[in-house]
Amino acid sequence: MSHALTIDDLKKSFGPAEVIRGVNLRVEKGEVHAVIGPNGAGKSTFFNLVSGAFAPTSGEVRLHGQRIDGLAPEKIQQRGLARSFQVSNVFGNLSVFENLRCACFKQCAAGYTFWRPAASVKRANRRAEEVLAMIGLADLRDSPAGALPYASQRALEIGMTIAGEADVVLLDEPTAGMSNTETTQAIELIRQVAEGRTLMIVEHDMGVVFELADRISVLVYGEIIATGTPEAIRNDPRVKEAYLGEEAA
């Protein structure tokens, strides 16, 4: 299997409202795959289905060929798929370092351990320090995560997502609400994250998308209307009409 993610005829309804209406998608190993689409297209719902936050109404999601649809989020995380959140979703009263270390415990099978101090779980501590340096928050190591400036919290969000060494990573609007400088730094960080991993990102900022993505899928009203290289998507008339057209107008 060369596909990291295989999604077949995925559907999700909330009561009578059909939000995802049959998504088919192949995400190749090692690629950066962006999912774009107008507001309300179902991008976040799509991520929630893949990561296990919701169970799909029908359809299949495979991670490295194995079915993961309908599994609990923690089961999906154990199989190597991690996600970040659009709204920062950290452990507010814990320090930055502690947030990262908690995200590393699963890999060391240490989260239920009560017979030795957390500081003695060497691998988790080492990995947390590593990620801390990578996301550039070493100065804020001991600050409570809830008190961080917005952009730092977003970086921590990404750090927690990759701390567990998942090989497929879903990032939900990682640069939303950032200034230009912050966005540039975030792109740099995402590039590093992408190294050796498969990345699927939802993003509104077209600059970010065209800079980072190997391939792009366009989600409109719960269906993917096109998938292709940034160049192909830019020139696709359907996409222009459905999505980019809004910006050109």
């Binding site: 296990g52 996600r83 009263n93 814990l94 270390r101 240490a110 009560f114 957390a118 988790a124």
Partner: protein, 413 residues
């Protein structure tokens, strides 16, 4: 890295605690005082075990006394087994010292939590609070149906002067029980502190802060809540075991809502966010509960007022206040901030004085006499407007100081 404590700094609180525990018997001689100190030790363990749930794990329980009480019952029944085995000196219990009964309490409390906890831990918040409230009432009411186990309304009696005595540690007088209490309170506090430093302890903070995110880093919140629930139940049972040895009687009251409320009261007054907060709370509340009634007939009202005042005006509790001052001192801002805080403290004191005066005066009006006035040797006339003018003056002064110190704090923040 720089914020990591040196070994000496990390050890200091424990050495100081040990020193205090060693010095207390040199200063105290009356059995009455030892009784209160023993009760404080029990309540410290109980309050801290409660904070494992609420402060550390974000689970508001109204039924924590169930595990305290069951631990106490487990311990007192074993105490009776030790006593019975003492007649012929045969069997396992004949060799089990009463000194180790808190371990039986721990096992009983943890086992009870293990048996009932799983369905409770699916959700935190209101659902958990309501379920534990139901559990507390259920067990308290159900205890009346099994008099052989719970002893009916009178409870179960025992005698702690049984079984083998290790190292000459007898348990005759409250002063003897003091060493027993000191040993177990230090051990239990250390164990609960150490628990906060383990991965599970940290993960329990994570589930408190954000249960949803926890799933996405690989852990179902329910499993973590359940493990914390068992640990908290165990330590509550340990406190119950201490109580069984201390009182030689356990009644169904120890399982009920009032006892659960006491745990919440102590933890909240002391502060949920600081590890030592519930210790402070247990000391303050126990002393108030034990001593205040010697001076006033309205003692319970005052405990309630203190609780209200803390919840409304200092939600971080007494421990949180201490921590605030400590951090300000570390940042070198204490000289700038302290006058504002002291002003606040003075205003609280003035208003409290006004409240106490009016409560006691009303008491004297309705009962014709007042204990506090007698203790202080005062004879105020509650029908005199002058006395009430003094009360109003206290309130006004308190309000004025409060306003002034608030302005001072805001001008310097």
């Amino acid at each position: 890295m720089s914020l990591r404590l040196s070994p000496w700094r990390a050890l200091a609180p424990w050495l100081i605690s040990l020193l205090v525990l060693l010095v207390i018997p040199l200063l105290v001689s009356s059995n009455g005082t030892f009784s209160i100190i023993n009760l404080i030790a029990i309540n410290i363990v109980f309050a801290l075990s409660y904070n494992m749930l609420l402060g550390q794990g974000g689970m508001l329980s109204f039924g924590h006394a169930v595990f305290f009480g069951l631990g106490a019952y487990g311990a007192i029944h074993v105490m009776n087994l030790i006593g019975d085995a003492g007649y012929d000196g045969q069997g396992f219990w004949a060799h089990f010292p009463v000194y180790l009964l808190p371990l039986v309490g721990f096992a009983t409390g943890a086992l009870a939590a293990l048996l009932v906890g799983w369905p409770f831990c699916r959700r935190a918040g209101t659902a958990f609070a309501m379920i534990t409230l139901g559990l507390g009432e259920l067990v308290a009411a159900g205890s009346q149906m099994f008099p052989t186990v719970f002893g009916g309304e009178a409870g179960v009696f025992s005698n702690r002067m049984v079984g083998p005595v290790w190292f000459g540690l007898e348990l005759a007088q409250p002063a003897d029980v003091y060493w027993f209490s000191a040993f177990w309170v230090l051990l239990a506090v250390f164990a609960m502190w150490a628990f906060t430093r383990t991965p599970l302890g940290r993960m329990s903070n994570a589930v408190r802060d954000n249960a949803e995110r926890l799933q996405f880093i690989g852990y179902p919140p329910r499993n973590l809540r359940f493990l914390v629930f068992i640990a908290a139940g165990g330590f509550a049972g340990l406190g119950g075991g201490m109580a069984a040895v201390n009182y030689e009687i356990v009644t169904p009251e120890s399982l009920g809502l009032l006892t659960s409320g006491l745990a919440l009261l102590m933890a909240a007054v002391g502060g949920l966010g600081v590890f030592y907060g519930p210790i402070v709370g247990a000391i303050v509340v126990t002393v108030m509960n034990s001593l205040l009634s010697d001076y006033t007939d309205a003692s319970i009202l005052y405990v309630g007022l203190v609780f209200l005042a803390v919840v409304m005006f200092a939600p971080a509790g007494l421990g949180g206040g201490v921590e605030q001052v400590r951090q300000s001192w570390r940042r070198g801002e204490l000289t700038r901030q302290l006058p504002g805080w002291l002003g606040g403290a003075v205003s609280v004191l003035l208003i409290a004085l006004g409240l106490v005066a009016s409560i006691e005066l009303v008491y004297q009006l309705s009962h014709g006499r007042d204990k506090l006035a007698q203790v202080l040797g005062l004879q105020p006339d509650p029908s005199s407007p002058l006395v009430w003018l003094g009360v109003v003056a206290l309130f006004a002064a308190g309000y004025g100081v409060a306003r002034a110190s608030k302005n001072y704090r805001e001008a310097r923040s």
